[in-house]
Symmetry: C2
Subunit: 409 residues, 2 copies
């Protein structure tokens, strides 16, 4: 099949993105966003998306995790759709307003955007897919396969814990099934299942790649890193997503009075935890295997005059391969034991693995089609093949596309 000379309308894409972001979830006097999953703002933008898709002739299905599938028929509707998708939710405000990457620029077709906050995270991926649907529609183009535009629920995991939650459930490869997710509560104790019902997005379609299959999944996203900028490239062709794994660490000690307990007899859980957290950073740097971050820390007691007896913190480790993640964790945990042997203060630690995303190596044919489109658009010298350092819905979804029906094309 000869390539078509269709072009999206970049101005319309940007106008639509800015307008919908300003209306639903914008932080006052800024371009930062606060559109937590299943909030009022999320409901409103979902309603808008569904209406837009229907006006373009799409059929809309909602599954039991609230994932929205807007499907445009092809000539062979027995094939599973080729999908474009990402997420319309964002992190809460604090993060976005201070995002270190806010000065970056991304080029889409001939338009240059300034990046601010969450507008060019998942939202861009959904809006770009919508612009493709609009372009197909106004050109009366009929595709072979059906085409799907997907809004995946709760990619951020900011309100209900668990990043890429609903694409993970669809893939049946993550730790959680839909019942566990429905019972997950937010900070106010609201269950996710109730929040889905509340905004009218608890659908009946099964959230399972076997019941609701796809043939392929494409996702446009900003880099969220500095490689493209440093290497002066315009477009990245993502060939894989790095491996990542989370652990929660519990450090236990003995509570004591800050005035009357001599330094020599203390089992201070916070001091041990601090040495562990420093060790996570040091191990990542010294081994060069990947990145290691402690993003969350909490203490059982919060009393100025009490020696802490229980500390919880999380570790996020990401490396190119699953084996490197395993090796870096091994190194970190060995360091923990060395620290305790040295401290010899009666504190102890244990670890629970809470989440993981295995390395995702995308399909060669899909990569080829992205690369050729990018090269055609900006020239080969502007294109960089790269691994994604951040997780995305595609990292769960790509794998199952090949487990379903006949491949398209």
């Amino acid at each position: 099949m000869a390539p078509l000379s269709l072009k999206i309308n970049a101005q319309r894409l940007n106008d639509t993105l800015q307008e919908t972001c300003s209306r639903w979830g914008a932080i006052r006097n800024s371009t930062g966003m606060q559109r937590l999953t299943l909030s009022q703002a999320d409901r409103d933008v979902r309603d808008w998306l569904v209406e837009e898709a229907r006006s373009l002739g799409c059929q809309v299905k909602v599954d039991e995790m609230g994932n929205i599938f807007c499907i445009r028929s092809g000539t062979n509707n027995g094939l599973a759709p080729i999908a474009m998708g990402s997420h319309l939710d964002t992190q809460p405000a604090g993060k976005l307003l201070t995002h270190p990457l806010s000065h970056h620029k991304v080029r889409i077709d001939v338009l240059i955007f300034s990046l601010k906050g969450g507008r060019y995270d998942g939202i861009l991926g959904v809006q770009a897919g919508l612009e493709v649907l609009r372009t197909l529609h106004e050109n009366n183009l009929q595709t072979h396969s059906p085409i799907a535009l997907i809004d995946w629920t709760n990619e951020e995991g900011a309100r209900f814990s668990g990043a890429m939650m609903s694409s993970g459930v669809w893939s049946q490869q993550s730790f959680s099934n839909f019942e566990v997710c429905h019972n997950t509560v937010d900070i106010e104790g609201i269950k996710m299942g109730d929040a889905l019902k509340e905004i009218g997005y608890l659908g009946e379609t099964k959230c399972d790649y076997r019941a609701n299959p796809l043939s392929a999944h494409f996702e446009l996203h900003i880099e969220q890193g500095v490689r493209l900028e440093n290497e002066k490239k315009t477009m990245g062709v993502v060939t894989s997503v790095q491996s990542m794994r989370w652990h929660t660490i519990r450090v236990s000690g003995t509570e004591g009075h800050a005035g009357t307990t001599p330094m020599g007899v203390r089992a201070d859980a916070l001091v041990s935890a601090c040495k562990f957290i420093t060790a996570v950073r040091d191990a990542a740097v010294s081994t060069g295997l990947g990145v290691g971050t402690v993003g969350v820390i909490s203490s059982d007691t919060q009393s100025q005059a009490t020696i802490p007896a229980g500390i919880n913190f999380t570790i996020d480790i990401r490396c190119s391969t699953d084996e490197m993640v395993e090796e870096l964790y091994k190194n970190v945990f060995e360091k923990f034991n060395e620290i305790l042997a040295e401290e010899n203060n009666g504190t102890a630690w244990k670890s629970v693995r809470t989440w993981a995303l295995p390395e995702s190596i995308f399909d060669v044919q899909c990569i080829d089609s992205v690369r050729s489109a990018a090269v055609e658009l900006v020239g080969a010298s502007e294109v960089l093949e790269m691994k994604s350092a951040a997780g995305h819905d595609s990292a769960w979804v790509y794998y199952l596309c090949f487990q379903t029906t006949t491949r398209p094309c």
Copy 2:
């Protein structure tokens, strides 16, 4: 004046203490206590105390911080009362149930108690004072000075932040005045002034040593430490309270994505904070000047996949003298700067002094009377002169006793 051979009734003291603790604020199936200041349990035990004191012929005054003064007339009521006092509130449950000192024993007259939780903290000091009033009353003894039994409000600072809060206000030497304290809120947003009103203990007497003076202040308390036990002594005669000072530290960095931000360009506020917290411990140990504790830590963001940009933690340093506290803080802050110079990662710190209690050196005449009573009771070989490592209401009150009216005796 020749010493009297009066003896308190130790069995009655213990029975009263256990019974009132069991009724108001006991933790089910344990001898641990949870009697937060100005709670229902605190109101009930206050009501009981007031009734008991009145039945012994005392006049009761309540001041604007809820401090209760039960005053027994003397022959010369122009003198300011000689006071016995402490506090009826306790820390919340968690702390008490795991108190490392729960196996200690304290000897009062001929009775041995097992120490569990908060029953022998401030509560013992108030109950012992009541037993003295009862003994004076049943022996029809008239003292020269009036005698006061005092329940000081919110010594713990557990519900409304600020340890020894109301004795501090009375002394006019702490950082807070009564208006600031009335506006202090608990975790549910309830103002302390409203909580005082709610339980009926917002009194009209001015909370000020000049308006409501005392001649002396005696306080019975457990050690909360291990010296008496280690040195096999029965009673400590406290000659002074060590100096203590609290700071809140703010560490700031730059937020970033845990996957896409390379290790080399991170300004991770938590890693810097962890090195600082370890340095507090190390400085206390290496200088030998005193004890240093970080009891509270919090992070602006709590996202597994976000590099923390803002961390707050508290430092509690206690040394024998004010100068040693100053020197240890100087040492700690120098270490912070050395750490930042070494890390060179773009993080920064600043410090705010939030609370301090200067070294308290008690009056020689008061110490003498405690010592001679202790020696008479258990023999000189069982008595140890010592410094208190923990703060107590007496540390604020003692000083002002000498600023008021004519000294007694």
